[in-house]
């Protein structure tokens, strides 16, 4: 990168808003565009797909059980003759929604705790001990207690599906923020002592602006990685929850559940395993590329390149 190109880039940018710049840079990232395209495609597919493919996901046609792919069932059927394609479509709605919301919740929590603990020395001790406590809590008994205390209340307040959705997002969110918090804190500790922060502080920048302007943008890349890993984690965790009786009812498909249920049918009916597995992997991959692109686009040092 030479000064000449920098100057060139600077001229092109003249008179444009920051977000337009970010979008311009994002557009040049082929992976990010592809990832975004795929993510939108999958989202549209799971939202509108069930209208186009009108076999109900839990309709049982026992005579057609364990079938391979065919025109009637493009992804085959399961051991009760339910259409795998319809299940993948219906499952995607839940999995994407749970994955994205739970990830977002855990990111917000983790980033908040991490930044506060790293930036304010006084909060560091208590917040990090709280993190230790959450890391140490045994997950399964915790989940059982949460189910016992809140499931029926939420079910009564929001109805079976919304209530359980809130519960699942909450449970995944509050049990997976700790890693993000520790990583962000580690980075903030180091950032806080860097020259530009010292400079900003010396001109009297207030704390909240310091955090929003100088600290947060610089811890974005670990947060983006956490987001990518978090989505995968949430989709899989959701499937584990249903085994404890915490998740959605058993005839309510989700990608994680489909993958788990079909694992033992791997040799009998390989198509059943491939599709949900592929759906999860590709979604996570696309989120990863979006994250990459976003990170590059938001980094002013790269943006000009």
């Amino acid at each position: 990168m030479t000064d000449a190109t920098l100057a060139q880039a600077g001229r092109n940018r003249a008179g444009r808003s920051q977000w337009a710049d970010v979008w311009d840079q994002f557009k040049t990232h082929r992976g990010a565009l592809l990832g975004m395209g795929f993510f939108i495609f999958v989202s549209l597919l799971v939202i509108f797909g069930p209208w186009l493919w009108d076999i109900p996901p839990n309709y049982i046609d026992i005579r057609a059980k364990n079938q391979g792919p065919s025109l009637a069932h493009p992804m085959g059927t399961d051991q009760l003759g339910r259409d795998t394609f319809a299940q993948v479509l219906a499952g995607g709605r839940v999995s994407l929604l749970v994955g994205v919301t739970a990830m977002a919740l855990s990111l917000v929590l983790g980033t908040l705790v991490g930044v506060l603990a790293g930036y304010f020395k006084r909060l560091d001790g208590p917040l990090m001990r709280l993190t230790d406590l959450f890391l140490a809590l045994p997950l399964l008994p915790l989940l059982l207690v949460i189910i016992m205390l809140f499931r029926d209340t939420l079910r009564a307040a929001f109805g079976p599906e919304t209530g359980i959705f809130i519960l699942i997002v909450f449970v995944i969110g509050i049990t997976s923020w700790m890693q993000t918090a520790r990583i962000v804190r580690g980075d903030v500790l180091s950032l806080k002592e860097q020259e530009f922060v010292l400079a900003a502080r010396s001109i009297g920048t207030p704390s909240h602006r310091m955090i929003l302007r100088h600290i947060l943008p610089n811890v974005l890349s670990p947060i983006m990685v956490s987001a990518t890993l978090g989505i995968a984690n949430a989709i899989i965790t959701e499937s584990a929850l249903s085994f404890l009786g915490l998740g959605f009812p058993s005839d309510f498909p989700t990608w994680g559940r489909l993958l788990f249920d079909s694992t033992n049918f791997m040799t009998l009916n390989p198509e059943r395993v491939i599709w949900p597995g592929l759906a999860i992997s590709l979604t996570v991959l696309s989120v990863n590329y979006i994250g990459d692109g976003l990170r590059d686009a938001l980094d002013p040092r790269i943006r000009g390149r």
Partner: protein
């Protein structure tokens, strides 16, 4: 060099010679896999079937049930009966005569003292003994002479074969467990992990919840048995993995309780390395019908008699329609394969107890179910769900988490939707569902749902205690801390009277007749909807011989006879 190898060969030949003559230990090592690992070898303190089966390799009862459910003398001369004088005329005592010459694996003699000690061990207060139910009504157990034991009951026992018969109450050695009675029982780790027994094997190394290494008992009464010199009893993983290890990779010789999708199991069996075997006992997968109102609005009175009757499940027409809408044969085929048969009775075996009065339900008849509901005045509402007087046929259907049960739930939900009944499915972690924790709303005793599904069975061949489960006093309620086994909250004085008659009746034919009547009452009053008579499924390597899958006793009951081709 040559000299030495000849010497070695000679030594080996000599070492092998007695084995070849006697047959003990000539089949090498036997590999058994239980996907639930054994956690203790003392069946009186065990956590379940896995521990009882593992300890059955070492410890033995006085008499066992064979694969057909007949009692066979094991450590005794014969089965005591009234005819041979072993059981007193008034049915209050039973006298067992131990075979002479039976030795513990440490070389000492088995005596009547050991049997008496075993009874006292289990009946000691604070011991938390698991086999206690077998000792119900036992007043005292005494040794008449070194080989004779007399058990006296509080009241006449038409079926006095509770203690020391079957896998749950084997004899433990007095000398070993003497200091482990009552509250001290759990502290005897060494004894609980390495019990001395009279059985074909003894423990070499016990790793709790992992693997047990055993070797042939040198003092076993039959000098030719067991055929295996050593035995590995591995635990862990899941049923599919255990099936794979026997049927596909051939790493193990015997796998227990393979409750997996029949399609997968038969595909694995095509590998040609092993054979899937099944046998039927008394287990029935059933729907329990909540006859009381589980409405959350009732608070404390929810699902109790005080809370009032169920809004629609007390209507016989509804229960009959629900039962008729189910295709039990299909459920058996999809979920259980060779290990399931459609049944309409809660007592499915032994044959003399089986009623044929309820066989209507064997054939699914949706049209008839619909007709019954129409006739009873349940008419489809605007959403297609039948209703009457503002009550909708909407069912909350709960069970424990288990792949087969969830498939069954899905199928039944679809059939019920075809007769205009709405179903919400719920599955609960088994440790919570069957745990009976007072604070949890999700236990099968509390039954905060309309229908719940699980399997129940009885030990041995006598259903007397089992039939007691549905008497009024067995209803779980806050008053008895939800302890009780009458989940449907079925309360019928006629039933209770008939059960009392059973407990006082001696001759087998009359008892069988009463059990049939009790069974029919339960079925016709709709306290439960039986689905599947469930068998045990196991698999063994093709090279293994002598296996007789036994559902009345431990699967390991005749392990001494097992051999390798």
């Amino acid at each position: 060099m040559k000299y030495r190898s000849i010497l070695m060969a000679a030594a080996l030949a000599m070492a092998a010679a007695p084995a070849a003559q006697a047959g003990r230990g000539d089949a090498g090592n036997l590999n058994i896999i239980y996907w639930q690992a054994a956690s203790i070898l003392n069946p009186y303190l065990s956590g379940g079937t896995k521990d009882i089966d593992a300890s059955a390799l070492i410890l033995e009862p006085l008499a066992r049930y064979d694969e057909n459910g007949n009692m066979v003398p094991w450590l005794v001369e014969e089965i005591p009966t009234v005819a041979n004088g072993g059981v007193s005329e008034d049915l209050t005592t039973i006298t067992w005569k131990i075979k002479p010459g039976i030795k513990w694996s440490d070389g000492t003699e088995l005596t009547a003292d050991d049997v008496v000690f075993t009874a006292n061990y289990c009946m000691a207060p604070d011991g938390g003994c698991q086999g206690l139910a077998a000792f119900a009504d036992v007043a005292k157990v005494e040794a008449l002479d070194p080989l004779t034991v007399k058990i006296t009951f509080d009241k006449p026992k038409p079926f006095p074969y509770g203690p020391f018969v079957g896998a749950t109450t084997p004899i433990i050695q007095r000398a070993q467990f003497e200091n482990c009675v009552g509250a001290r029982a759990p502290e005897c780790t060494e004894q609980n992990f390495n019990p001395i027994g009279t059985g074909p094997f003894r423990v070499v190394e016990f790793r709790a919840n992992d693997v047990i290494t055993m070797e042939a008992n040198p003092n076993f009464r039959d000098p030719d048995k067991p055929h295996f010199a050593t035995l590995t009893f591995k635990g862990g993983g899941d049923a599919a993995a255990a099936a794979r290890a026997v049927l596909e990779t051939g790493e193990f010789d015997y796998a227990w309780n393979l409750q997996i999708d029949p399609a997968i199991l038969s595909q694995m069996a095509q590998g040609g390395k092993g054979t899937v075997i099944s046998a039927f006992g008394t287990a029935v997968e059933r729907l329990m019908v909540n006859l009381t109102n589980p409405d959350p609005a009732l608070g404390e009175k929810r699902s109790t008699l005080e809370g009032g009757p169920h809004p629609f499940l007390t209507d016989p027409a509804v229960r009959r329609a629900l039962s008729l809408a189910i295709d039990r044969n299909l459920l058996a085929e999809v979920g259980y394969g060779a290990a399931g048969q459609a049944t309409c009775n809660v007592v499915p075996a032994p044959a003399i107890y089986v009623s044929t009065a309820n066989d209507e339900c064997l054939v699914q008849d949706i049209a008839k179910a619909n007709a019954i509901l129409d006739e009873a005045g349940w008419m489809p509402g605007p959403d297609g769900i039948r209703q009457k007087d503002g009550v909708r046929l909407s069912i909350l259907y709960q069970t424990s988490t288990n792949a087969v049960r969830q498939d069954t739930q899905a199928l039944i939900k679809q059939w019920w939707s075809e007769i205009g009944v709405e179903t919400e499915l719920k599955n609960i972690d088994a440790a919570v569902f069957f745990g009976g924790d007072q604070s949890s709303p999700d236990t099968f005793q509390k039954f905060y749902a309309d229908i719940e599904m699980y399997t129940n069975l009885f030990d041995g061949t006598d259903p007397e205690t089992y039939m007691k489960s549905w008497t009024c006093e067995e209803i779980p309620s806050p008053a008895n801390n939800w302890l009780g086994s009458n989940m449907p909250r079925y309360c019928n004085p006629e039933y209770d009277a008939l059960w009392a008659k059973l407990a006082a009746t001696g001759p087998l034919e009359e008892r069988a007749e009463i059990v049939k009547q009790l069974n029919d009452m339960l079925m016709q009053d709709g306290a439960m909807i039986p689905l599947i008579h469930r068998g045990r499924v196991s698999a063994h390597a093709n090279s293994l011989t002598g296996i007789k899958l036994n559902t009345w006793d431990s699967e390991m009951w005749n392990v001494a006879d097992w051999d390798r081709q």
